[in-house]
Amino acid sequence: MANSISQTANSGGHKKYGYFLGCVMPAKMPWAEKATLMISKHLGLDFEEMKETLCCVRPGVWKAINTDWWLTLTSQNLANAEKQGIVLVDSCNGCWISHYETLKELTEEPAKLEMVNRNLSSIGMHFSGDLKVKHFLEVLYEDVGLKKIRSNVVRPLDGFRIMRHIGCHARKHGDKLPGYFDEILRATGVEIIDTPYDKTCCGLLLYFSDPHTSIFDRIGAKMSTAKELDIDAYAIICSGCYDQFERAVKVLKDERGISFDTPIVHFSELLAIAFGYKPDDFGMKYCRPIPTTKFIEKLASKEGKK
């Protein structure tokens, strides 16, 4: 039902994508924001940051407090995207689940849509449901295609061993997104190392109620494994998960003296490098809890050997 309604305005023809930044990416992951914009344009997409965005709003907090409030606040972003005539694109799984599930609920339950529009009318806005919400992985895999992605790889990352963490919300509606994540990552040439911790939660929401388990048994276990296996990078795509990785790494270092040296990199950074961009083109070395120096040096050494 959600799809049939959402396809009316955005089906076929030229697609204009609006990238929803959310809260974490613009403040803590500018390198990921830049790399995502670069690779999207590189692949020929009409892709820009969505304007006037607010918090998605966080499903883990707002949906838990009151579902109608969550629907109402999320709808401000959806109504805005509908007005801008864009396909709303999320790479943060939390933002995606909030947008995807709100759209689904509003198109399947007219009473909820009416309630939301009653609230939105107080700010002169309206949402009809004429919107398509896509995960960035869907845009790349379904709209661009693996063949085109592979054909743009000019600097294969073979010899780079990575661990990956896609995040729980990307698994909530089936195995499609984790499959896309792995296939696109492999298209860059990296070797994905499977570990028992690949599917465990980052612990972002658990941090509120049980910070020890969240820090030590989730990120601590993942990062220790990466250290033991001498992994080159930990690849993520979700900004919410990154927020937790960053928090945990800082807590472990500052409060427990446990340091890690496996950089946490965004999926888009690996694609940008594979497409021939230099780490400096998107600021890979800046503002990170774990420096990317070793990763960049390995890249330079690989280039030098050619």
């Binding site: 930044l21 965005t53 700010i123 600021g283």
Partner: protein
């Protein structure tokens, strides 16, 4: 088994939530022992981030240091979010009020505190 050492950043977050709460039930229950305690609309640990959300429209501020990091990465110094588009934030504030969310959450927007 001994209690694990507290995580300072978590304690700080909890304290920030308590600081943003006008009435502490733990303190009132000493003064009014027969009063039944209730579950507040939002837990203390989430209040600091909710407050930021009401003030900025997003969970994190964008200050000078972040603007500088963004510029180093080749981006506009300020993102095209409610950090820049104040009208979007103003609409959100009205929406929070008109939908009755701030009242039911017991949030006093002038003082920036939760009742409970």
């Amino acid at each position: 088994m001994s209690e694990p050492k507290p995580i300072k950043s978590w304690v700080k977050l909890l304290e920030a939530g308590k600081k943003a709460t006008k009435h502490q039930q733990s303190e009132e229950s000493v003064q009014y022992p027969l009063r039944r305690s209730f579950r507040p609309a939002a837990p203390d640990i989430a209040k600091a981030s909710l407050k930021r959300d009401f003030e900025v429209g997003l969970v994190y501020y964008v200050g000078d240091d972040i603007e500088q990091d963004r510029a180093l990465c080749g981006l506009e110094r300020r993102p095209p979010t409610a950090h820049t588009f104040k009208d979007a934030l103003e609409k959100k504030r009205i929406l929070l009020e008109k939908a009755g969310i701030t009242t039911k959450l017991g949030f006093d927007k002038k003082k920036g505190v939760f009742e409970y």
